[in-house]
Symmetry: C2
Subunit: 129 residues, 2 copies
DNA sequence: TCGCTAACGATAATCGTTATCGTTAGCGTT
DNA sequence: AACGCTAACGATAACGATTATCGTTAGCGA
C-alpha cells in the first residue's frame, strides 16, 4: 500500500485555504503562497488539492470554468454572482431533506449532493438595484 | 440589433439533443450528427449550444470536467454516477423550497439553482451490491 | 546514517472550449 | 428571380485549466 507522507507544501495549502472564505482557484492559492514558499510549483498546488479533496479535507467547487476550492467541509451551498463572478456561501438551517427526497425518487444509491445558486451577491445586488 | 437567422445545423442540434436522455457532451452531439451532416464542424456545435443555452432552450450541466447538455428545460436535478460516469435525471415532486429557503438565508438576489447528486446509477448500484 | 520512494519543481502535453478568418447561405429588399 | 447585407458556417489556430513526465529532493522507517 501507498503510505502518504507529510509535506510542508500540503500543510501550507490546507492552512491557507482554511483561513480564507473567498473560494480561491488553484492559481489564487499558488500566488498567495508563493511569497512564503518561493520554490512552490503550480503543479504541486493542483496535486495537493486533488489529494486533500480525496481525503475529504476540502471541497472542490466545479463552478463551470475554473475550479474553486473550499476549506469548509460542513454541508453548505454556494452562489455564483453573475456580476462580479465571486462565489459566496449559503448556509441553510434545514437541509430540506434533499438527499432523502431524491433517494425516494431515484432507484440508485445517492451519496452526496451539491447545490449551486445563481444570482447576485449582496454588494452587487445593491449596486444594480 | 442583431437578428438571429435560422440554420439547419442549429435545428439538427436541438432536435437531436431533445430526442435523447443521456445528457451528451458537445462531442457526442457532433459525432451523432456527423453522418447526417458530413460538413458539420465541432465549432458549430459549441456555437449553437451556447446560443441555445442563452435562448433558454437547453440547459448546460457543468458537471466538473466536460460540459454536458440537456434538452429538458423543466426544473429537475442530476446525478453523476461514480462508476460509469453517466449523468441521470432526478425528478422531485416538491422542489423543497430551496430557492425560498436560500433567499431567507442570503442577503443577495437568487435567480436559479442547480443540484448535482453524486452516487451510483440504478444499474451500477445493482452490480456492486 | 542509509535506502526507499512519495512528493517536489519545472515544463511539456493534453483536452475542452473559444477566437479567427475566409466562405456560405438566410432573408429582406429591389 | 437576382442583389446585398451579414449571421452562421467550416477549418483550424489559439487559449487556458489541468494533468503527465521526469529528474531531483526530502520524509521517514530500518
Amino acid at each position: 500500500m501507498q503510505v502518504q507522507r507529510h509535506s510542508k507544501q500540503r500543510d501550507a495549502i490546507l492552512e491557507n485555504l482554511c483561513s480564507r472564505y473567498d473560494h480561491p482557484t488553484a492559481e489564487d492559492l499558488y500566488f498567495s503562497l508563493k511569497p512564503r514558499i518561493p520554490a512552490l510549483s503550480l503543479a504541486t498546488v493542483y496535486r495537493n488539492l486533488a489529494q486533500l479533496e480525496g481525503d475529504g479535507k476540502i471541497i472542490k467547487i466545479g463552478s463551470g470554468g475554473t475550479a474553486r476550492y473550499d476549506g469548509n467541509i460542513n454541508l453548505h451551498y454556494h452562489l455564483t454572482c453573475l456580476d462580479c463572478g465571486g462565489v459566496f456561501d449559503i448556509f441553510l438551517d434545514t437541509d430540506c431533506g434533499l438527499c432523502k427526497e431524491a433517494s425516494k425518487a431515484f432507484d440508485g444509491r445517492i451519496l452526496s449532493h451539491s447545490v449551486l445558486f445563481t444570482g447576485y451577491c449582496p454588494s452587487c445586488s445593491k449596486q444594480v438595484g
